[in-house]
Symmetry: C2
DNA sequence: TTGCTCCTCACGTCACGTGAGGTGGC
DNA sequence: TTGCTCCTCACGTCACGTGAGGTGGC
């Protein structure tokens, strides 16, 4: 094994494009085109990783946890537009500070209602989460304050050394 | 094994007293009193766990990571005043958002200088950490804002169901 | 042949939680 | 005997990172 081969997959997440709005509709293969379903865009794991700024490992991990279920062709994964939206939902849930288990539950709850690919954010859940995050904010704020006091003290000590 | 016996150790961390200032000086055993070292107070792992609101597991974990090194009498751990101060320093470091590895490094740096039991908080480290925490604050703030918008939307939907 | 992208294990990381099974002194 | 506190493994959790070893098509 040559050592230069290592760590290639890891280097994918360098630029994260937040422009989830525009899809450049790269349709791969004719196997879906003949079924007449327009919008049958297909993404590789690398496509989604680049677009959302996550690693391949992350996408495989989400699949393992039952959050994503891309189509398989042999061993290779192919992600549909639905899978892509689902990923956007998962990452939004993460930004809001929910655990993957919570997110999976909320997605499952949404599946039942019929409305596609939005987070089933119950009022209760949201309010709870706001409380959690606000306490977190206060703690971080206090830490910053203490660090700033320390910096001031250190600055005051200049010349004493 | 009776099931009632389980989970006893875990229930220690219910009330956390932040009054680190006053030591109630419980001197255990005469084995230290005769050495004439006043202030030779000794704490059990349970004492410190109660006082600082952490679990026994946490204290043993810190020891395993080389952050604490209490005296042993057989298998039992006995913590000195120095160990206690050290723990206070560790927990302060954690509050400031440093990892245990960083904390260990800062403590080791302090050991060299001679000044006892304070965190060796370099100006550089502090400023870096402030940057990290401020970004974290912004992200949390945005999450809270989004959650509040969601709650507002859900409230607006009342009656539509 | 080289280079790129994809794959499956599987161990490592961080800071502990949790449980099994056992000891020692009042 | 019961109850309390202490102990040592050692596996589990969370969200992945990292590496080994291998495949497939241009």
């Amino acid at each position: 094994v040559r050592l230069g081969d290592l760590m290639r997959e890891s280097r994918l997440n360098d630029h994260s494009s937040d422009s989830i709005g525009d899809v450049d509709m790269l349709v791969r293969g004719a196997h879906t085109a003949d079924t007449a379903t327009v919008n049958a865009a297909t993404f590789t794991i690398g496509d989604l990783a680049r677009e959302f700024g996550v690693t391949l490992r992350t996408l495989r991990f989400y699949e393992d946890k039952g959050l994503l279920a891309p189509r398989r062709e042999g061993l290779t994964r192919y992600y549909s537009m639905t899978d892509r939206s689902r990923l956007a939902v998962i990452l939004k849930g993460k930004r809001l500070g929910f655990t993957l288990t919570e997110i999976r539950g909320m997605i499952a709850a949404e599946e039942g209602t019929g409305a596609p690919a939005e987070l089933r954010l119950g009022r209760e859940k949201c309010v709870e989460q706001i409380t959690v995050l606000e306490r977190q904010m206060r703690e971080t704020q206090e830490a910053i304050a203490e660090l700033k006091r320390t910096v001031a003290t250190l600055d005051g000590m200049i010349g004493r050394v």
